[in-house]
């Protein structure tokens, strides 16, 4: 560096200050505004690994509107949608003992099959195959969020392709919701939980969202089919019923539409079943 810089003289005019600031801010602007707008902003649908299924599908209409309820209620102040994956490991799964089961089981006693890295898993698999057995290598994501059962893999940008505004959140005062639709897939459960969290989750610290519900006398004496079934402690006074508003139903539909449970090229893992994951979630 020249002596001028060392004494700070190079910035002795306002123009130079602006130039230095322009370069400094411009670099990060290019990297964190323009680059994501190009790289992530032009992203398209992809397909689920080893399947012709397109991912992500557009959310149903009420779920799309439910995202706006989520935004209005400020749910992102306490909930993230960013599943973490600390690592990945391989499990070797025996699918058949073949024609020489004795040789294979001898081999198995000397091999470890769980929590391997890819190379070790491949070599174990090769040895078993050579002995006549049949194996599969399962890709298993690891990490706190996976262990807690919050999801099966890390979140990727495709999960949020259709959302505006994307509500990733920044603080976890409550559990991560990226895969909540697969985890807690019942519409009535979601509604009851919104009305009285402690009624369905004993230790919940979540404040209730009673303003999304109406406590009313049954209209014309006919109980509403939507009325919540609540434990006595949380139930309304006798002769009244708790009915969700449209907003509550949309919010619940949105929560049910949150799935991050299919393997993608950028988030690979082995699914437990060959059946498509989405239809499993529908059945629940």
């Amino acid at each position: 560096m020249s002596p001028g810089i060392e004494r700070g003289e190079i910035v002795n005019t306002g123009c130079r200050i602006f130039l230095v600031s322009f370069v400094a801010l411009g670099l990060s602007w290019g990297a964190f505004v323009i680059a994501p707008a190009i790289q992530l902003g032009t992203q398209k649908q992809t397909s689920v690994l080893n399947s012709s299924e397109i991912y992500p599908e557009q959310r149903p209409g009420d779920a799309t509107m439910g995202l706006q309820v989520y935004r209005r209620a400020g749910c992102a102040a306490c909930h993230t949608m960013q599943l973490q994956q600390d690592g990945v490991q391989c499990d070797v799964v025996i699918t058949g003992m073949g024609k020489t089961p004795g040789a294979v089981s001898n081999l198995l006693s000397s091999l470890s099959l769980k929590s391997l890295d890819k190379d070790d898993a491949q070599s174990a698999s090769d040895q078993i195959t050579a002995a006549g057995g049949k194996t599969e290598i399962h890709i298993v994501p690891t990490g706190g969020d996976v262990a807690r059962g919050w999801g099966s893999r890390h979140s990727v940008s495709e999960d949020f392709l259709w959302d505006y505004p994307v509500q990733l959140g920044s603080v976890r005062m409550g559990p991560d919701l990226a895969d909540v639709g697969s985890r807690l897939g019942s519409f009535s459960w979601q509604l009851e939980h919104l009305y009285a969290p402690q009624a369905v989750t004993k230790n919940s610290t979540m404040p209730p969202f009673r303003y999304l519900f109406v406590v009313q006398k049954p209209v014309n004496g006919v109980p509403s089919p939507d009325a919540l079934q609540l434990p006595a402690q949380f139930a309304p006074p006798a002769g009244y019923e708790v009915v969700p508003t449209m907003a509550a139903k949309k919010l619940a539909a949105y929560l049910l539409s949150l799935h991050a449970n299919v393997p993608l090229h950028d988030a690979p893992f082995t699914m437990a079943s060959a059946a498509p994951a989405k239809s499993q979630a529908k059945k629940q």
């Binding site: 600031s21 801010l25 964190f32 790289q39 992102a76 509500q167 990733l168 230790n203 610290t205």
Partner: protein
């Protein structure tokens, strides 16, 4: 208040009204913001307390409180201090003094509009950028008006050499319009698709809260510290090196380590966080060398504010660096640790430095002493204590929460303790607001008196004037 500082009477005369307009609203918003945060935190004591109305829901009160502090208090107060320092460094009057008065009113009205939008549920949904179009257009217009006045004042300077305060304040002046328009264009006006929104929001909030507030806060501190300490800023080249490396590296921080974006985003943030050690240590060295041999006691006055504020910045910067580290960052990013760092940056470092500057400059600008001088020392202690009670439990609770497998029930106790910190801060901010309010009243009363005097006996008063 420092009797040795010479102030050009023309500077005081022209700055007076704009500063009163900017600081008056700012003090009010600080009280409102802290009160909202305190109310929001009552949810941790009584979860059902605000559940029957949409506008009192936790998410809205938190966003409104945060924005009232950032947009209502921090930015207008910063702009006022910036105008004052630029005018003083130029040794000239404030150019176009009525423009900032107008701008201050537009700004505070814009914040009001934005707050109303948050409470009615019409926020944008992007953290730290919750104001919708209506509010943000007003804020931008007001900022540009103040910017015109500030640049004109800078251009009219008699002393051509730039001071360290100049580097920081000019960079800050230039920073905000760029990041604010970028964020609003890409997130609100013509939103980009998918997760790119989140990346741009992180970039914006890091640039506003970490970079912009630091530029103004350190510019102010580096202007006042040498005056209070009675010796020049020690090792100006080091301060300059710190400035350049800070704006080069700090702008790249802010992407969470576990964000659902391709790995190069968080990796770039990590690299920047590692490099951030350089400017922070440089600033620390400049600060310690300048202040260490000062032979003045601070006695709870503005000097104390500057020292405390700068120390809070060093801690806030050192708290930010581990957030960028892959291991610790993943552990702490979603816990209250990150929130503790943000609050330390805004309420610890920035508010303290700016309050200190306001306490120092207003008597000179208005020509009236503070009505409650004892409050200055009390507020200093209240803020120190309040921050300790707010930030330390949040930081510890954050770490504990992740270690504890996100047991939310046990984590709530840390939030409950931190409510007490917010209450202390609210008390301190009330003292600040009371001082500014009564000062303004006194000044208006004085104005009315002299005006009445002119009407009653014009001759006499004109003789007095001459």
């Amino acid at each position: 208040m420092n009797e040795n500082v010479k102030i050009d009477p023309a500077t005081s005369a022209t700055c007076r009204v704009p500063l009163l307009a900017l600081f008056g609203g700012a003090a009010l918003w600080l009280v409102v913001g802290l009160a909202l945060l305190l109310l929001a935190s009552l949810n941790f004591h009584m979860p059902g307390i605000f559940s029957d109305r949409g506008w009192t829901t936790y998410g809205r009160m938190l966003a409104a409180g945060n924005d009232a502090i950032l947009y209502g208090f921090a930015i207008p107060a910063a702009l006022g201090v910036m105008l004052w320092i630029l005018a003083n460094l130029s040794e000239s009057e404030l150019v176009l003094p009525l423009v900032p008065v107008l701008a201050a009113n537009i700004w505070h009205f814009g914040v009001l509009v934005g707050m109303a939008e948050i409470f009615t549920g019409n926020s944008t949904g992007f953290q730290w950028l919750e104001f919708q179009r209506g509010g943000s257009v007003l804020l931008f217009a007001a900022y540009m008006l103040i910017g015109i006045s500030a640049m004109a004042t800078f251009g009219a300077r008699r002393e051509r050499t730039l001071q360290p305060a100049h580097w920081f304040l000019l960079a800050a002046l230039f920073w905000f319009p760029w990041i604010y328009t970028s964020a609003n264009i890409f997130l609100v006006a013509w939103p980009v698709r998918g997760v790119a929104q989140a990346v741009i929001d992180w970039w914006f909030s890091n640039n506003l809260i970490f970079v912009w507030l630091t530029l103004v806060g350190l510019g102010t501190a580096f202007y006042y510290l040498p005056k209070f300490a009675g010796r020049p800023l020690q090792n100006q080249p080091l301060a300059f090196f710190g400035f350049v490396t800070f704006i080069l590296f700090a702008t790249w921080c802010g992407i969470p380590q576990g964000a659902p974006v391709p790995a190069w985003f968080p990796a770039a943030s990590t690299t920047a966080s590692i490099l951030l050690i350089v400017p922070i240590l440089s600033f620390l060295a400049v600060f310690v060398k300048t202040v260490a041999k000062a032979n003045t006691q601070c006695k709870g006055g503005p000097f104390c504010y500057m020292k405390f504020g700068t120390t809070a910045f060093i801690i806030s910067g050192l708290m930010l660096i581990p957030l960028g580290c892959p291991r610790f960052g993943v552990l702490a990013q979603y816990t209250e640790y990150a929130q503790a760092q943000t609050y330390l940056q805004i309420l610890g470092f920035f508010s303290i430095v700016i309050c200190g500057a306001v306490y120092e400059l207003m008597p000179d600008a208005v020509g009236i002493q503070w009505p409650f001088r004892g409050f200055i020392r009390v507020q200093h202690w209240l803020f120190m204590l309040g921050l300790a009670v707010l930030v330390i439990p949040l930081a510890i609770g954050g770490i504990e929460q992740e270690m504890n497998n996100y047991d939310f029930k046990s984590g709530v106790v840390f939030m409950q303790i931190s409510s007490a910190g917010l209450a202390l801060l609210l008390l301190g901010s009330l003292l600040f607001a009371a001082n500014i309010f009564v000062l303004t009243m006194k000044w208006k009363l004085g104005l009315a008196k002299s005006f009445l005097g002119v009407i009653k006996c014009p001759l006499e008063s004109s003789e007095v004037k001459s």
